[in-house]
Structure formats: C-alpha cells, structure tokens
Symmetry: C2
Subunit: 183 residues, 2 copies
Amino acid sequence: MAVDRDQVLRSAAALLTRKSTATMDEVAKAAGISRATLHRQFAGRDALVRALEALGIAECEAALDAARLDEGPARDAVRRLVRELEPAAALLAFLYTENQLFEGEEQNAGWTRIDERIAGLFRRGQRTGEFRIDLTPPWLTEALFGLLASGAWAVSEGRVARNDFTHMIVELLLGGALRREES
Amino acid sequence: MAVDRDQVLRSAAALLTRKSTATMDEVAKAAGISRATLHRQFAGRDALVRALEALGIAECEAALDAARLDEGPARDAVRRLVRELEPAAALLAFLYTENQLFEGEEQNAGWTRIDERIAGLFRRGQRTGEFRIDLTPPWLTEALFGLLASGAWAVSEGRVARNDFTHMIVELLLGGALRREES
DNA sequence: CCTGAATGAGACATGCGTGTCTCACGTGGT
DNA sequence: ACCACGTGAGACACGCATGTCTCATTCAGG
C-alpha cells in the first residue's frame, strides 16, 4: 500500500553512500521492499540515481536558504552553511563521486545554480576584504565540496569524530592549518 | 616485443582517471594493445586495479622521499610534498574514489604507512608550534588527499588552471580562505 | 633460412545485473 | 462479502563485460 517513496529514497541513499555499486536487489532489501516494487517506483538504476541527485540538490538548496548567505560576515555565513550541509554530507559525497561518471552528459542545472550561490558567497567575502583574493571562488567552492566528502568519509571510517565534523571542515577551509598570531 | 608493462599501466591510469568504468577492451585500445595481451599482463580487471594501486603507492612514497619531510619548517615541507605529488594527483584521485569499494577487505598496508608519514609531518608542525592543534593530523592527512582529488578534478574540468594547482591546494590547506592581517 | 616466442584478432561460454512479465496473496475500501 | 489495487516472489530473456581458448601472423635470434 502506497510505499513511502521518500523513505525508499533515504534508505537507498544510506546504502549507496556506503557501497556505491550496490545492486538494485540490495537497494530493495535495504528499503524492505521487493525488487519489483522498487522498479515500479524508479524505472531503473539510472532513474534512481537521478532521483537521489534531485534529493541532494533539494537538500543543498534548503541548506543554502537556511544559512542566509547574504547576512552578516561571510565567514559566519560559511559556518552556517557547513552546519546546515552536514546532514546531507554523506549523500553529497556519493553524488560527488558519481558525477565523475556523467562525463559525456551535461550536469544537472541545479548544481550550476548551487555552485553559483556558493561562489557568490566567496566573492562577497573577497569584496568585503574578509577572504583572500588569490584563491578563486570556483576553487573555494570545489574545495568546500571536496572537504565535505572527505569529512563524511573520514567520519564513516572512524578517523574523525562525528561531533567534530563541522568544526574540522570550517576551520580548515577558513583558517587553514597554520597557527595565527593574531586572533 | 615484450610489451612495455609500465607504459600499459600509465595509459590505463590516464584512461581510468577520466572514466573509471572503462572496459578492459577500452583500456587495451588506449594502450595500443589487444585485449588478449592486456589479459596476459594482468589476470583481470581486479589485478589491473591492484597494479595501479601499487603504482600509486610507489609514486606517493617517491614523492614523500623527494619532499624531505623532516627538513626545515613543516610548512615548507608541505609545499614540497604537494609539488611532488602533483604529477600523481589524477591517479591518486582515481584510487581515492576506488578505495570506497574495498569496504570489506583491508586496505593495502602501503597506504597506512603513507598516511602515517604525512600525519607525522603534521604532528611535527604542531610540536614546533607552526600548526594549530585543534585540527588533528589524521584529519589534515585526509583533507590533503581530498583537496588533491578535488584539485585534479577541477583542473580536468577546466575550473582551475593547471599552473595554479599546487598553489591553490597548498595555500588553502595551510592558510585557509581568510585574509591574514600579519604576513 | 628456420624456428620459436609473443602478439592480434576473433570466437565462445559464462556470470551477473537488469528489465519485464505473470501470478498468487493480502489488505483496504465499497 | 466482494472487488480492486498494490505488493512479493519468482521466472525469463537480454545485454554486457569478462575470462578462456584457438589460430594465423609477425618478428627476433640462432
């Protein structure tokens, strides 16, 4: 009776994040439904990944909105953004590596908009003099996603405590590894 | 005749870095040999990936040696390390994502040693007071590989100029995005 | 010139994931 | 109680990459 599509999507995301080559049968079992029903919800593996991508984009944009990127100091906006993005980090890490496979096809327009909003935040920080100008906004955006993925993986491997996730990423991204003389 | 095994490995690395799902047949064609010969050199796809992993480990350790990690200020050692690692970045990016698949099996001991050497460098920097102590060496190591992979991908996508590769990674890793008042 | 080793081309069987279909079962609504 | 709908289970064929094998060809060395 009306399988909870969103619930299926969540469990699929949780499984594929750990094992990106999981079979449709494994995905179905993980969701507690049969392969037939899974296939009734998502036409095929490709459709499933696309749905996951749409979910990732939606969560990203929700985080972007919740972080109020254009309010206050840019550095604080970055902190809020990473904090909001944390719950979606594992899914984003999966999609980040999965995207390498879509080499031929053009990527979903949603990512372009998200990249643009984040790059805009970094540009704002550069304009106000908060951020250095020798690191380009596109690179900072790329690095943010890369660190998000690394962080998610490090947490799942037990190399970083889950509670430190946001702190590790934000501090490295903003402050770097060097000690600062001034505060 | 005696097919140049190392040459085959290099071209396989170059191809798989761009298209991680490439067929054995595609790998063979890229190397300019037949699938039969490729299979005579590497028992199967698994053996090929393992060989690639061994190559990546070897290049990493060579870079580690060339960077002389225990000489001079730790920050300079990090700069040398990234510079030495740059040629191998694409291969490492491939292996970095491929490693997610080896979930069940234990990872190659070579990576453990490499991780340990790099983490040791960060620990040394913390001891000398160069690096902040709230970012753990394992996380900095993980972040270094993550940024290396992000950088390699950004370059191949044209989002970052190839010449800026080392600078972008080193500066972000060491200094972060914030402008520093003092030099 | 001859022999042998290595290579390329292709055929062939196999395993695996996938997509599709059918049918029986259980549940909810009428 | 009856009917309809969604579901689970399984069978089936297909596509595709893989692994293995054979055979002709080519090139190097004796």
